[in-house]
């Protein structure tokens, strides 16, 4: 080590003798060689490959004539299983897709039983994102509840908040001011647009239209900018609360919304120009992932998917909430119930939502943005300094919360993915006794075998994207 030139030219020669450098290199190499021997060359028979694993509850059901297997084959309601089997059932292959597959839009796992390139049976496996939000809700007051529920369907946070708030208001028998209702309609319809834009982006991406992905994200950002300006956050807003909304619209919101409408209207025209006559897009979507109206009813599939199958059912029309009946809009429906019709329906829904937004903007009533019932909404900051009563109300509201009369209530709104319903049970306390969510994506995931079976493996992503499942909504 005394000769410095030798050390510089051959730095590794004496490294083994330096303390702290010697032991690991040979042992790592040995371990790799050993692993190679065991797993690749098969020279050592210590751990032979095994094909038999136990998947437990996630295993496919044994194929028989039982309804569970029929459901996995997607033939439980309408048997449109046209192609004849060519191999024995035990020769079919199980392909596992997800939960980390990029096209599953989250952590959905699909067991696909395939025969060559044809899907025979599908078993959706969920629960990877289960965070117990329904249990958490039982520990939060009604005032805190919106913070929790907004995180379920993270692409439609306003709809979650709205369904929750309306359900509590139903139990309270509380009327909200006109302006609050109009703001709620404005925000939820913009949210529908932003959610559908994200859907268009991912649907395009999944079947190879990568430009659509960039365009969809770009236009969605204009919506999120407005949400951020209004609520302070891009997602998980906690803006629609029991009794109204958290804050009034920001100054100059009309200009923002007007430019947003202009941008997105032009955008939708561009997307349709890009995709409507695109032969690849048409081949990938037409006749793929078909659902019949009867299947939609049986599986509880609602929203754009049911409308694409021809069911004229929109809760904004059949069970209007927040005064949405005073605005003019149309409900687009499809004929074939395939991926292409879902695309057409969602594109038109965006236009109709922007139409509603325009009308809300033109007719925005003045007045309070939340109920003046001080048992439910906090008093303005100024009043707390002036009034003892306001101080007490404020204190009670943020410590104990408000009590809700005993009872149970169900209320649903038309979310971007379908009927988003909240079922609340109150025992008279300040916290819900039970909060159950009717999640549209949950029903859509359940219906995936109907869409996927009897189609090609490559069409799985097209069908899955057209169902637009949000796994936060599925697993809650």
């Amino acid at each position: 080590m005394s000769d410095t030139t030798d050390t510089a030219s051959e730095p590794t020669a004496d490294m083994d003798t330096v303390p702290g450098h010697e032991p690991e290199a040979p042992s790592v190499a040995d371990a790799r060689r050993e692993a190679h021997d065991i797993w690749v060359s098969g020279t050592e028979e210590r751990f032979p490959f095994s094909t038999a694993t136990n998947e437990g509850a996630q295993e496919m059901l044994p194929e028989a004539d039982d309804p569970g297997a029929a459901m996995q084959a997607g033939i439980a309601v309408d048997d449109d299983y046209t192609s004849e089997p060519t191999v024995e059932p035990e020769e079919r292959q199980i392909i596992n897709m997800g939960p980390q597959h990029p096209s599953t839009h989250g952590v959905l796992r699909l067991h696909l039983e395939i025969e060559g390139e044809t899907i025979r049976r599908v078993k959706p496996i969920i629960g990877y994102l289960h965070t117990g939000m329904e249990k958490t809700a039982e520990t939060l007051t009604y005032a805190q509840g919106a913070t929790n529920v907004t995180r379920m369907d993270y692409l439609a946070p306003f709809h979650n908040e709205l369904a929750f708030s309306l359900t509590v208001e139903q139990l309270l028998g509380l009327e909200v001011p006109e302006r609050a209702s109009a703001i709620r309609v404005l925000m939820t319809e913009l949210n529908r647009v932003s959610s559908h834009l994200l859907w268009a982006a991912t649907q395009g991406m999944d079947i190879g239209a990568l430009s659509m992905m960039i365009y969809g994200w770009r236009e969605r950002e204009t919506c999120l900018d407005f949400f951020e300006k209004t609520t302070g956050l891009r997602m998980n807003h906690n803006y629609i609360r029991v009794g109204g909304v958290a804050a009034d619209l920001p100054d100059g919101w009309e200009d923002d919304v007007a430019s947003l409408i202009a941008t997105i209207t032009v955008g939708i025209d561009e997307y349709e120009e890009l995709l409507n006559d695109n032969p690849i897009f048409i081949d990938r979507t037409m006749g793929v992932g078909v659902m019949t109206p009867e299947e939609c009813k049986q599986y509880g599939v609602t929203g754009p998917m049911a409308r694409a199958s021809g069911l004229n059912w929109d809760l904004r029309k059949t069970n209007p909430y927040c005064g949405i009946e005073q605005y003019e809009f149309d409900v687009p429906t499809g004929l074939h119930g395939d991926v292409f019709d879902r695309y057409i329906v969602r594109m038109e829904e965006m236009r109709q939502s922007l139409r509603i937004v325009q009308q809300v903007m033109d007719t925005m009533p003045s007045g309070d943005y939340r109920s003046e019932d001080r048992k439910v909404t906090p008093p303005p900051r100024k009043r707390i300094d002036e009034s003892m009563e306001a101080l007490i109300h404020h204190f009670k509201l943020f410590t104990e919360g408000f009590r809700v009369p005993e009872g149970a209530a169900y209320q649903s709104v038309e979310g971007p993915r379908g009927e988003l319903g909240c079922y609340l049970v109150s025992k008279g306390g300040a916290r819900p006794w039970r909060m159950h969510w009717r999640a549209p994506s949950f029903a859509a995931v359940q219906a995936l075998p109907v869409m996927m079976t009897d189609s090609l493996l490559a069409d799985v992503v097209a069908s899955l994207a057209s169902a637009d499942p949000v796994l936060g909504d599925v697993d809650r």
């Binding site: 095994s50 038999a52 694993t53 136990n54 998947e55 437990g56 509850a57 996630q58 059901l61 569970g68 459901m71 439980a76 309601v77 969920i126 629960g127 289960h130 117990g132 249990k135 958490t136 039982e138 520990t139 309306l166 359900t167 208001e169 139903q170 139990l171 309270l172 028998g173 009327e175 909200v176 009813k297 049986q298 599986y299 509880g300 599939v301 609602t302 069911l311 059912w313 059949t318 069970n319 209007p320 909430y321 927040c322 005064g323 009369p405 005993e406 009872g407 149970a408 169900y410 209320q411 649903s412 009927e419 319903g421 079922y423 039970r434 159950h436 009717r438 949950f442 029903a443 697993d475």
Partner: protein
Amino acid sequence: MASEHVSESTTDDALVASVLKDADGATVVEQQYASSQTRYHRVAVPVDGYVAAVSAAKDAGFDMFVDLYAVDHFAQAPRFEVGVNLVSMSANHRIIISTRVPYDDPTVPTVTGLFIGANFYEREAYDLFGIDFPGHPDLTRILLPDEWDGYPLRKDASVGAIPVQFKEGSVDL
């Protein structure tokens, strides 16, 4: 409660009455949605008449399955409640048919024979509440791991951190 009210007989009431004509001991609560003129019915039936009531509702035009939920009433006997939420598109009406079962026998007959869409929802109720649905084709845990101990949405299950039990695929050697 402002949302509940006694009202004059309407076609909806007649429709609900036709659903329940064979159900003994049914109680009906009529409610109105918030910020809306529309009403819906919540119907409680004994567990013996539950499937018959759902079947009658399906025949009466409530042919869209929307939801199935479970509630743990804990101190009140019978302890568990299971309800099915159905919609009639033709009559534009919603009916929620629920039934109560006791803690020592949490067994509700399945409605998957009537609505295949109840599959996942009944699995969820089984997973989180431990309610048994005899006749269900694939009654397994859906949201929690198979090895999970207990039923977390029951009121006697504590809130708090439980170490997540990840599944180990058992390899046959």
